[in-house]
């Protein structure tokens, strides 16, 4: 911004030392910024070195298509059960957090009074600030028994006696000590503020003239909110969804504590059984390996890094996707 010492008038020129000092400070600060690149490079190097060494022993095809994860006992390294566990938690927590977060964002941006907003916004942010280990504990000790008291529930979708179709009953069985449902619920609660705060920013950025135009045409507040403001802010909302899902994928402690350590392939066709039983996510498997203290090396220890690289690749892709959505579809008002 300021181009000092360009005037050429001797008396106005800063002394050589001051110029050098300024340059030195500038470089020092730039070095701090460049350090962040080094962190990314460090992550990639740290992960890929050992992960490649792992994949030279266990073929990547076996790793990515194997349906059994049992690193210690059977030495089988198929990642699909872990991916399934991660997907179960992600899908069900997203089912909770995405609609709730968007509704909260619409309320905060369109309906809430200034006073309500000044209380509710920090309160919502606390949801994301609670340590995940406490979420995990609450899921294990309080949420599971609370929900289990209503279970099992069976709903007859197709009653017996209809001759054409086989009878079909949807059963939500009782919960195990470790189960995916309580983990999904707490992860869902945890990522609500991620959706609500980013979506609210997007909704508030919609200019008032669009709203006024809607009212001028005789629309109700409901119509203006749902047909004008929300569609205009789609890009921001989608970005918030992607970021929240990415956060749910990377969530570790809550799912480790509440969902347990038994990798499972998904159950079909009764999908609800997946929720009631224990399973293991990618992150929980990493915690298990690290906690087992097998630092001697070997494929199990290196599998930690292969899992980390997989996780890093997934979340990085999603973050870049969110950024692209935001840029590509950004409305210029």
């Amino acid at each position: 911004m300021s181009k000092e010492s360009e005037s050429g008038v001797g008396s106005l020129q800063r002394s050589g030392f001051v110029v050098r000092k300024e340059r030195f400070y500038g470089r020092l600060i730039a070095a701090c910024a460049v350090l962040t690149i080094l962190v990314t490079v460090g992550i990639i190097l740290a992960l890929s070195g050992r992960a490649l060494s792992f994949w030279s022993q266990i073929s990547p095809i076996a790793f990515f298509t194997g349906t059994s994860w049992s690193p210690v006992i059977a030495e089988s390294y198929g990642v699909l059960p872990l991916v399934s566990g991660t997907l179960i938690v992600t899908v069900f927590s997203a089912l909770i957090a995405l609609p709730v977060g968007l509704a909260a964002a619409i309320y905060l941006s369109e309906y809430a009074s200034d006073k309500a907003r000044s209380i509710l916004k920090p309160a919502l942010e606390i949801l994301a600030g609670v340590p995940t280990v406490i979420y995990g504990y609450m899921a294990l000790v309080y949420v599971t028994p609370m929900i289990d008291s209503f279970l099992p529930i069976s709903v007859q979708i197709i009653p017996p006696g209809v001759s054409v179709l086989p009878e079909f009953t949807l059963v939500m069985p009782s919960l195990g000590t470790f189960n995916a449902l309580s983990a999904s619920i707490v992860v869902g609660i945890m990522i609500i503020p991620m959706v609500s705060s980013i979506s609210e920013d997007a909704l508030s950025a919609v200019p008032d003239s669009l709203r006024q135009g809607g009212y001028g045409l005789g629309s109700t507040k409901f119509d203006v909110s749902t047909r004008i403001v929300v569609p205009s802010a789609t890009s921001g909302i989608v970005a918030s969804y992607v970021l929240a899902i990415s956060r749910a994928i990377g969530e570790t402690m809550a799912v480790t504590m509440a969902m347990g350590m038994s990798p499972q392939m998904p159950y079909f066709p009764n999908v609800l059984r997946n929720l009631a039983e224990s399973s293991q996510t990618i992150t929980a498997a990493m915690v298990q390996i690290a906690g087992a203290d097998s630092y001697g090396g070997g494929p199990t220890y290196e599998a930690l890094f292969a899992l980390g690289l997989t996780l890093f690749a997934i979340t990085l892709t999603m973050n870049i996707l969110a950024e692209l959505v935001r840029r590509r579809f950004r409305e210029e008002y």
């Binding site: 280990v133 109700t220 690290a290």
Partner: protein, 540 residues
């Protein structure tokens, strides 16, 4: 016919209108419900955790009556009284900050210094602060100030280096001196200097010197009194300097400047007095108090995995404080520096402009990297590359520091962005250089915003568990870390480890109590950040 038609038409319209209205109302109710559902369910869970930790049902009803009389009723009466009197509220807020901030500061200072050995901390503090003080003194006497600015950080680094060299030889002979002398040097001397400086800037030099002298003399008197009484003088000195001195100063200041609101000073003492009075009454009258798990044992003892009533998390609390504190020292300068570069230095165009865009994208991606992955980075960096031992303070702090770096950068950037550009232009117009503008104009304006962001980052770091598990920090240890290279443990790790313990007195007792401690720490930090943001935010 015509009239009939219009009425029916109007009627139809009004029904349609009413449906519309109902739809809108239902929608709003649904929105409110959605906003509240997360908050309410968290509150329900918190209530269950605190119910397990405090066990209020085990107390007799007299216990509740006593505390209602000594604590709740006076506090409520005082709050009602202060509600409509802004002067009282101002004084009350100041007194609250001084009293409870002072208590917290005393606790943190004492446990950290006690864990790290007061002699070592004193040596490092002495050698790190002496050179910059000398440089500042020189700066006062001369007009040639070109070199003093950069000399201060250099002299601190040199001082720390000297301290590291002489620590071994000196700490032996220094050990002859009593511990309380170290605490006097570490806490009372800075408190006295601070009071002297604050008073001098408001009341002139002489009063300042007297005030500082009074504080120092008070510290000595406390030491003499406690030695005469036969107790170790260390803790009394810390409490005097970090609690009594700020409280006294704020009281004096409020009485002088805010005579209308001076009743407000009593606010925190109503609460403290209520607690003490209630406790003594309960003790005297032998009232059945709740069989709570949140006891002094929990906070001051070390872990016991067999007997719940003996289990404590003192080493874990101190470990968490030391890890997070050292992490702040590592991460905040770098994070703030990076934010300054991106906001104030980086050009928008050209090759370096592209670099800046790349940096921004990279930082937002780093913020989205799962914390377990940072654990792997820490494992590879500190254990494999640098060859540090397992689970030492430096690795834990470094790993968490890398994790919170993006949060610090983004919040500092926001704070810098909210500083109006006119201020910068004004400063440049008066001939200030970029660095001078930054140091004298931009950074002071951005302090509240930066502080908010950094406190939130600390709150995030203190609850972080997954990266510590990955770098194999021990879950249970029986003594707090004795130095930066000694192994440590942290509070969330203990909660994680103990959650596997299925005994009811752990599952529904000690672990919820430890969780309450962690939650209180985190909520305190969040509340501080929110208060700072509301007080200084959006001044433009």
């Amino acid at each position: 016919m015509a009239t009939e038609e219009t009425t029916s038409d109007q009627l139809g319209q009004s029904t349609a209108l009413r449906i519309q209205q109902l739809k809108g109302q239902l929608f709003e109710v649904a929105l409110v419900a959605a906003t509240l559902v997360g908050i309410v369910s968290l509150l329900v869970l918190f209530a269950q955790i605190s119910n397990d930790a405090f066990r209020p049902r085990t107390a007799s009803s007299t216990w509740f009556l006593v505390y209602f009389g000594t604590l709740v009723a006076p506090t409520a009466a005082f709050t009602l009284y202060a509600r409509r009197r802004p002067a009282v509220r101002t004084a009350n807020a100041l007194a609250f900050a001084a009293v409870f901030g002072g208590l917290l500061l005393s606790f943190v200072t004492y446990v950290v210094v006690d864990a790290l050995s007061p002699y070592d901390v004193f040596i490092y503090a002495f050698f790190a602060s002496l050179p910059p003080v000398l440089v500042l003194a020189y700066d006062r006497t001369t007009d040639e100030r070109t070199y003093t600015g950069p000399l201060i950080p250099v002299s601190i680094i040199v001082g720390v280096g000297v301290a590291a060299l002489v620590d071994g030889p000196i700490s032996g002979p220094l050990g002859v001196a009593a511990e309380w002398i170290m605490y006097f040097g570490l806490v009372t001397v800075p408190a006295a200097l601070l009071v002297a400086w604050l008073t001098a800037s408001r009341r002139g030099r002489r009063t300042g010197a007297v005030a500082g002298g009074v504080v120092a003399a008070g510290g000595l008197a406390v030491a003499v009194a406690s030695i005469a009484a036969g107790v170790d003088a260390s803790l009394p000195i810390v409490v005097f300097s970090a609690f009594a001195v700020p409280t006294g100063y704020v009281t004096w200041w409020s009485v002088k400047t805010n005579p209308e609101g001076r009743v407000g000073i009593a606010g925190p003492f109503v609460i403290l007095g209520g607690v003490l009075l209630g406790a003594s009454l309960v003790d005297r009258l032998g009232i059945e108090s709740p069989d709570s798990y949140l006891t002094p044992t929990l906070i001051l003892e070390s872990w016991d995995g067999l007997t719940a009533s003996n289990a404590g998390v003192y080493p874990q609390i101190v470990g968490s404080i030391i890890i997070v504190g050292f992490m702040a020292v590592l991460a905040f300068p770098v994070g703030i520096g990076a934010a300054i570069y991106l906001e104030e230095y980086a050009p928008d165009t050209g090759l370096r402009g592209r670099l800046a865009t790349l940096l921004e994208v990279n930082i937002s991606n780093l913020a989205g990297v799962p914390s377990v992955v940072y654990g792997l980075l820490g494992l590879a960096l500190f254990r494999r590359t640098l060859g540090f031992g397992t689970g030492i303070v430096v690795s834990a702090a470094g790993t968490l520091g890398l994790l919170i770096l993006p949060i610090v950068i983004v919040s500092t950037q926001e704070a810098l962005r909210s500083v109006p550009n006119d201020l910068r232009q004004g400063s440049y117009g008066m001939g200030a250089s970029r660095w001078q503008t930054l140091r004298e104009v931009v950074l002071p304006e951005a302090i509240p915003g930066t502080l908010t962001g950094t406190i939130l980052a600390l709150a995030r770091a203190i609850g972080e568990t997954a990266p510590l598990v990955i770098i194999a920090v021990a879950t249970t240890k029986y003594s707090p870390p004795s130095g930066l290279f000694s192994s440590a443990t942290a509070l969330p790790l203990q909660i994680f480890a103990a959650s596997a313990n299925a005994k009811p007195e752990f599952r529904h007792g000690v672990v919820p109590a430890a969780a309450v401690v962690l939650l209180v720490l985190m909520l305190l930090m969040n509340a501080t950040a929110i208060v700072i943001r509301n007080k200084y935010g959006r001044t433009n």
